[in-house]
Each structure stands twice: as structure tokens, then as C-alpha cells.
């Protein structure tokens, strides 16, 4: 019996079981999209952390650390700082607003179905393509583990994902995220002592790696300017992620959100710490891997006993699934909530809104799979969108989210110009970066930075040139100021 495979199947069955149990708590769209806003800090915090840490952490980040060494770890500092700022400036206003999705916020704050639909289109295109990439990777994992074709692997992977998200909504998604987060940490921290035993201990590992690749202990392989650009990209992008912002709606109150963010920071710190130690262990044990991305699978296959190798490979799958299930739900909500329930048929019954919500989540799982099976997985545009996913989302949404919450004068026209202009700037920079800027090659500045700068400039310029927003759009986000204006003690906007 293939033990890692058995562990993997047990894990998949557990996820489906979570979906079935969660479905008992779902009675209306609010339950399905935001769990009725009832989560406490443990589920809220672990859900945020699991969504934040995709398979990228256990494949891409560990691979980068395998290649460049200690210095890349400095990027991790942006997470607690960006989350802290979000807790202060964004979370209380989102929680008070109390809707379901990011387009809900865009549509209300910018008093416009057009702005809402621009947000929906950006989400649908970028999320469908990103989910395609993840399903494709899931197929490859299944092929490696089970030996089936990658097409069969993609179908199986999608069925499991759709299975628990379709029936259990955000409750299944978040509970499974909590379990997945614990599996990730367990996999990482169990692997550390075993890997170190193979290397002869930490001292011996460090000496071996230092002898092989001394640049891994310096700033040479990741210069501070490049590191700063990367950190800035992560930092700015963090404010516009629909799947993370929507989590503020799911947690029961603002004090719980503060605890949840603290818990999330602890989990993120622990996971990154385990990843860097494992990256060094992989470097010491397998110094000639063709690509750094092979670091984690090499440890799972060659260092750990089969059952723990299964846990670590399940952690890989968990990292991927915990991100894809969130994306699927956000994309489903974009159709079920933002298009159907808010624009096309606002008077529909709660029952039909819930049904359409479920169907749209199902469709958002099936479309990426269908496109992949039809052979649309390798086009150049798809590769660009996958590479730019975080930058696209950050460029489109970070400015309308942040400026809309701190500046009353931000208008509908400004928001639409900002989303569209930010996206164009982001793509433009990726395709035609300037040769040098501030002494650095233009290609080393991540596209989200120019994307957000252009978005911010357009937001301010267009907003000032167009009529001020109505008070009804501003009231949920600036309650004190709106009350003062209603009482006549303060002039408005």
C-alpha cells in the first residue's frame, strides 16, 4: 500500500466531510457567503493565514530561499505591517458596512452598478485564469502521487474542491482552511528535526551550505533594492485582495478581527520560519536540484518516513486548496451575489439567491477545468495573467478600497478610471518595462507599483473633476461626519 497516497486520500475525505457538516449550518445567502458574520478569531485568523499562504509558499518561496538564501526572508515583514494597517483603517468600516463581497463595497461606496461590474469583470477574468493554473498544478501533483494522467488528476482535484465549497460555502471553506493551516504547520515542523537529523544537525548543515554557496548568507543574491521592490509589491497588493477583505465580513465583531489578525500573524511567522529552515536543509541535502521548486517535494520523498512524507505532500495540496477554494468562492460570489442578487434580480427570494450562489460557485469551478481540458491552459495571455495575478488584483482594487475609506471626495468616475487605468499600467509595465528607473532595471520593479501609482493619480484627478458623491454612499463609511452634516454642524463633502 502506498502510505503517502493513503494519507492524501484520508485528507481529501476529511475535506468532503467538512463540507457535508458545514452544509447543515447554511440557510440563506448570508450563511453561504459570510457564515452569517459569526466566526470567532481562531477560524477567522487561520482562514486568513491559509488563504495568504498558497502553494507558492511551499513551492515558489521555498525554492527562492533555496536559491538566494537568508535575505529573501526579509520580505515577510510586510505581512504584519499591512495586516495591522488593515485592522486599523479598513476592517472596522467593512465590518460596519456588513455586506458579502468586495464588489458590494465598490458598488455602494461608488454608488454605481458600473463600478461594481468593472470589479466583477476583473475578478472573473483574473480568478478563472488563476484557478486554471492551480488546477493544472493539482493535476500534476496527482500524477506524481497516484500515477494517473494529469487530466484525470485535474478532474479529481476539481471535484474535491467543488464538492466541499459547493455544499458548505464559506463555512466549509474556512473550517477546511483551519485544518489545512494546521496540516501545513504540522508538515513543516515535523519535517525540520527529521531533515536536520539527515544533515547531522544544524551546525553541520550551516557549515555545509556555507561551504557550497556562501552567497546564501549575504545580500548579494537578493540586493536590498530588489528586495524592497518585492516587499512594496506585496505590501501594496495586500490592500486589494477580495478574498482577504471579504473575511472581515465573516468575523463576528471588530475586537475578534483584531485577535484574528494577531493569530494570523503568528501562523504566518511560524510557517515562514519552517520554510526557510527546510530550504536550507534542502540545499544541504540536495545541492544540485535543477530548480529550487523541487526542494519541498525532494524532502518529502527522500528524507521523511512515508507517513510523514504523505503529511508533507498533503500540506502542499492543502496550501493549494486553501487558496483555490477562497478564489472559487469569491468568483462564485461575483456572479451569484454581485450580478444576480444585486443587479439582475434584487427582489429574488433568499432561497433562489442561495441556489444561484451555489450554482455560480459550481460554475466557477467547472469553467477553469473545462478551459483546461479544451487545451486553453498554455496561451501567452494566460501565462501573463497567472504571473501578474497579485499585481492585477492590487492595481485594480487597492486604491478604490483604501482611498474610498479615507477620502470622502473619491467619486464613482474616479474609481472606475482608477481600476481601469491601474490595470492598463500594470500590463504595460509587464510588457514594456523601461530600461532603467532610479538606477534599477525597469523589469525589477514589480508591475503593481506603477499600477497602484497610476490608479492613485487617476482616482484623485478624476474625482476632483467630477461631482462629489451623495451622502447616502458615504454614510456607512464615515458615520460621524455624515451625522454631523445631517445635524447641520458641518459642511459636506
Amino acid at each position: 500500500m502506498n502510505v503517502p497516497l493513503l494519507v492524501f486520500w484520508i485528507y481529501m475525505a476529511l475535506m468532503l466531510g467538512v463540507g457535508v457538516i458545514a452544509s447543515r449550518f447554511i440557510h440563506d445567502p448570508a450563511d453561504y457567503w459570510i457564515a452569517g458574520g459569526r466566526f470567532g478569531w481562531p477560524l477567522g485568523g487561520a482562514g486568513m493565514a491559509a488563504t495568504q499562504m498558497s502553494a507558492g509558499l511551499y513551492i515558489g518561496t521555498i525554492g527562492l530561499m533555496y536559491t538566494v538564501g537568508w535575505s529573501f526572508a526579509w520580505v515577510v515583514i510586510v505581512f504584519p505591517i499591512s495586516y495591522w494597517l488593515m485592522t486599523v483603517y479598513i476592517a472596522p468600516k467593512f465590518k460596519r458596512f456588513g455586506q458579502f463581497t468586495l464588489p458590494d463595497y465598490i458598488g455602494h461606496r461608488y454608488y454605481s452598478h458600473a463600478a461594481r461590474l468593472v470589479a466583477v469583470v476583473v475578478i472573473l477574468i483574473s480568478y478563472v485564469v488563476y484557478i486554471m493554473a492551480q488546477i493544472k498544478a493539482g493535476g500534476m501533483i496527482a500524477k506524481t502521487l497516484v500515477g494517473i494522467s494529469s487530466e484525470a488528476g485535474m478532474i479529481a482535484f476539481t471535484i474535491f474542491l467543488i464538492g466541499y465549497v459547493f455544499i458548505g460555502g464559506i463555512i466549509a471553506e474556512t473550517v477546511s482552511d483551519f485544518i489545512q493551516m494546521m496540516i501545513m504547520l504540522l508538515g513543516g515542523f515535523v519535517a525540520i528535526p527529521l531533515a536536520l537529523r539527515h544533515t547531522g544537525g544544524l551546525d553541520s548543515l550551516m557549515a555545509t551550505v556555507h561551504a557550497q554557496a556562501p552567497q546564501m548568507f549575504t545580500w548579494e543574491s537578493m540586493p536590498p533594492a530588489l528586495l524592497f521592490s518585492m516587499a512594496l509589491a506585496f505590501f501594496l497588493g495586500a490592500f486589494g485582495r477580495p478574498e482577504q477583505l471579504a473575511r472581515f465580513y465573516t468575523i463576528k465583531d471588530v475586537p475578534s478581527i483584531r485577535w484574528a489578525i494577531g493569530f494570523c500573524n503568528v501562523l504566518v511567522g511560524l510557517a515562514h520560519f519552517s520554510v526557510i529552515v527546510l530550504a536550507f536543509a534542502a540545499r544541504g541535502l540536495f545541492p544540485t536540484l535543477p530548480v529550487g521548486d523541487m526542494a519541498m517535494p525532494s524532502i518529502a520523498n527522500h528524507v521523511l518516513p512515508p507517513i510523514l512524507g504523505g503529511v508533507l505532500l498533503s500540506a502542499l495540496a492543502a496550501a493549494m486548496m486553501s487558496t483555490v477554494d477562497s478564489l472559487m468562492l469569491v468568483a462564485g460570489a461575483a456572479i451569484g451575489n454581485d450580478v444576480y442578487a444585486k443587479v439582475l434580480n434584487p427582489n429574488a427570494s433568499e432561497r433562489s439567491k442561495l441556489l444561484v450562489g451555489r450554482i455560480s460557485t459550481l460554475v466557477m469551478g467547472l469553467i477553469p477545468l473545462g478551459l483546461l481540458l479544451l487545451g486553453f491552459g498554455g496561451g501567452q495571455l494566460i501565462q501573463i495573467i497567472v504571473a501578474l495575478f497579485s499585481a492585477i488584483i492590487g492595481s485594480a482594487f487597492a486604491v478604490p478600497v483604501v482611498i474610498g475609506l479615507v477620502w470622502r471626495r473619491a467619486t464613482r468616475e474616479g474609481a472606475i478610471a482608477s481600476m481601469v487605468g491601474g490595470l492598463i499600467a500594470c500590463f504595460w509595465w509587464q510588457l514594456r518595462p523601461p530600461k532603467t528607473i532610479f538606477g534599477l532595471p525597469g523589469s525589477t520593479i514589480f508591475p503593481v507599483v506603477p499600477g497602484i501609482l497610476v490608479a492613485a493619480l487617476l482616482m484623485v484627478a478624476v474625482s476632483l473633476a467630477t461631482p462629489a458623491p451623495p451622502e447616502t454612499a458615504l454614510a456607512p463609511f464615515f458615520p460621524r461626519r455624515s451625522a454631523e452634516q445631517a445635524a447641520g454642524t458641518r459642511p459636506g463633502p
Binding site: I81, T87, L202, W259, G262
Partner: protein
Amino acid sequence: MEALVRYGNVSWGIWLLYWGVVVLYFIWAVAANRREKRGEES
């Protein structure tokens, strides 16, 4: 430990900074929650 001190100089700073920010965050969060609770009670 000796190896970490000898070779880990580029990394030690980030972990001190990271956990320092997390601790500061918790201090702020507890204070903010208490302040809010007092505000509600009064």
C-alpha cells in the same frame, strides 16, 4: 546555535523584527479592545 550566530546574521534581524512587530500589534490590539469595551460600558 553556534552556527546560527556565525552564519545567520542576515536572518536574525528579520525574525527579531517580525516577532517584535507581532508583540507590539498584540499590545495595541489588547489596548484597543479594552478602550472600546470601556467606551461601550460608559
